[in-house]
Amino acid sequence: MRAVITVVGKDTVGILAKVSTKCASYNVNVNEVSQTVLQEMFCMIMVCDISNISIDFGTFSDEMAKLGEEQGLSIHAMHEDIFNSMHKI
């Protein structure tokens, strides 16, 4: 099972570290990262393996949103099914 985490916001030091530390603390393995910085706006997409996640995914998603609020970023953790079903036949 995989999830997609998207992070959008003003570029600051250590965004990647903070998000991936949070992932590691819940046993979520980061598989792929793609990031761009457009005019100081930071945009990162992480594809993660959540097969061995240590908490309920819904709670994980809340935790990520909370981390986003603390850092002034918009962070969403969503199951990959939503992207696959919308964009693949």
Partner: protein
């Protein structure tokens, strides 16, 4: 790897363009709750609903969090109560409405539909009793929705029922006049009512349906409008293609949520309703799609043609995206629930006559329209008859949900709040159809060939 652009597109749709699942509706058959003792029957109804739907809201909330897509409403539809109440001779069916309200509160759903009667060809059992009790039932409950099917392509139109419903709609508004006549906003009069509709106020579970079933209604006018706004220079072939592609994506969300909800609740998946259901929120309006296509205001000449294309394209895109499709499927045009429609009605661009024409080419009918409080019952009946005739002749669902604004006149406003919104009182043609409606009887079923 999933394409980055696709990921961002999905997130933009949800965050900025109001993409959501409008409703997950659990259909529950109450046929096994029939009892000649109304108190026993009510107990059975309460127990069955609470037992069957206890996990509906928590499971939907879990799916919302995991997939990151909002599910706005969780609802229940039940077997038409007139059928269940038929065994309880001479009892007031309102007891069932109170029971449904109690069960809805217990499981935490937003609405429960099915305080309904199907009388397209005549009255049987508790049909008359139930219809007479609708004003009281809707005034003593908050979550219960009611519908009456008065016509069909196969049966024709029951004009006795049409005449009665004019009075019932009026009385329902009067009895809830202290709450902006909200009772009438929870009552819909159908022709060709679908048995698997997940949308309120018209949802009920037909007798041909399974014991329990999950039906899902999607939304997404904002997404369609945004897609059109981002494109430029398309001719109408291109516009139809773009709407189709967008509807496909929207409906895929509905299919995914329906499948997940069905799996987690252990209940069969019924249908996805391919709908463009607006909300009063800015940017979530069907009228604004029509304006984006190129009309100065919704209601202008050309509105019917634009809506016909929109409605057809939504179905074409949606059908491909879902394994089972049903319900009302199409674009909705509820006036008070659509910011663009409210504007158009307020400035006079949109009239009831134009709305009636629009209902010939889109889903449902004259929906959420405030009319003057002094509109006579026979005029309401005649509005219902006109709308039912469009449905009957064109083999489609049509419906009337008008709200007589008691004590108010054209230009005044009613406000219901929430998804029901609010809007101006619209002008109604006041020439009298009294003699026509008083005749009663049945408009015979129409011929199905020689279509001209």
């Amino acid at each position: 790897m999933i394409d980055t652009r696709d990921i961002l597109e999905t997130i933009t749709m949800i965050q900025d363009e109001n993409l959501d699942i409008r409703t997950v509706t659990m259909g529950i058959s109450l046929l096994d709750c029939i009892d000649s003792n109304i108190d026993v029957a009510c107990d059975k109804v309460y127990n069955k609903i609470v037992k069957t739907a206890k996990d509906l809201v928590p499971v939907c909330e879990q799916i919302e969090k995991e997939l990151g897509i909002p599910i706005i409403n969780k609802r229940i539809s039940v077997t038409p109560i007139a059928i269940i109440a038929s065994a309880c001779k001479d009892e007031n069916p309102v007891k069932f409405a109170i029971t449904l309200e109690k069960a809805a509160r217990e499981v935490g759903v937003n609405f429960i539909g099915g305080y309904s009667a199907l009388v397209q060809k005549g009255f049987a059992g508790a049909d008359r009793r139930l219809i007479e009790s609708i004003p009281e039932a809707l005034s003593v409950t908050d979550h219960v929705c009611s519908s009456v099917n008065i016509g069909s392509t196969k049966a024709g139109i029951n004009m006795d029922a049409v005449a009665t419903m004019g009075h019932i709609v009026k009385k329902t508004a009067e009895i809830t006049a202290d709450r902006d006549c909200i009772g009438a906003a929870k009552l819909v009069v159908f022709c060709n009512a679908p048995e698997d509709n997940p949308f309120m106020a018209g949802a009920f579970l037909g007798v041909g349906e399974p014991d329990v079933v999950i039906n899902v209604g999607v939304s997404g006018p904002g997404v369609v409008r945004a897609a059109l706004a981002k494109s430029s220079g398309l001719d109408l072939t291109g516009v139809a293609e773009l709407i189709k592609r967008t509807a496909f994506k929207i409906t895929r969300m509905g299919q995914l949520v329906a499948r997940e909800a069905s799996k987690r609740l252990g209940v069969p998946f019924g249908i996805v309703d391919l709908s463009l259901a607006p909300t009063p929120a800015v940017g979530d309006s069907v009228a604004h799609i029509l304006e984006e296509i190129g009309l100065e205001k919704c209601g202008a000449c050309g509105t019917t043609a634009a809506l016909a294309m929109l409605n057809d394209a939504v179905k074409k895109g949606g059908v491909m995206a879902s394994s089972k499709v049903g319900g009302l499927s199409g674009a909705f045009i509820p006036v008070t629930e659509d910011a663009g429609m409210i504007d158009a009605a307020t400035c006079g661009a949109l009239t009831i006559e134009k709305l009636e024409a629009m209902t010939a080419v889109c889903s449902v009918g004259l929906d959420m329209i405030n009319i003057p409080g002094d509109t006579p019952p026979e005029v309401i009946s005649a509005i219902i008859a006109d709308e039912a005739a469009i449905g009957m002749i064109n083999s489609k669902t049509t419906a009337v949900r008008v709200i007589p604004a008691i004590g108010k006149k054209v230009g005044d406003e009613l406000s219901f709040g929430g998804l029901l919104g609010g809007g101006p009182v619209m002008k109604v043609n006041t020439y009298s159809p009294f003699k026509f409606i008083s005749r009663g009887g049945q408009i015979p079923a129409p011929i199905q060939s020689l279509k001209n």
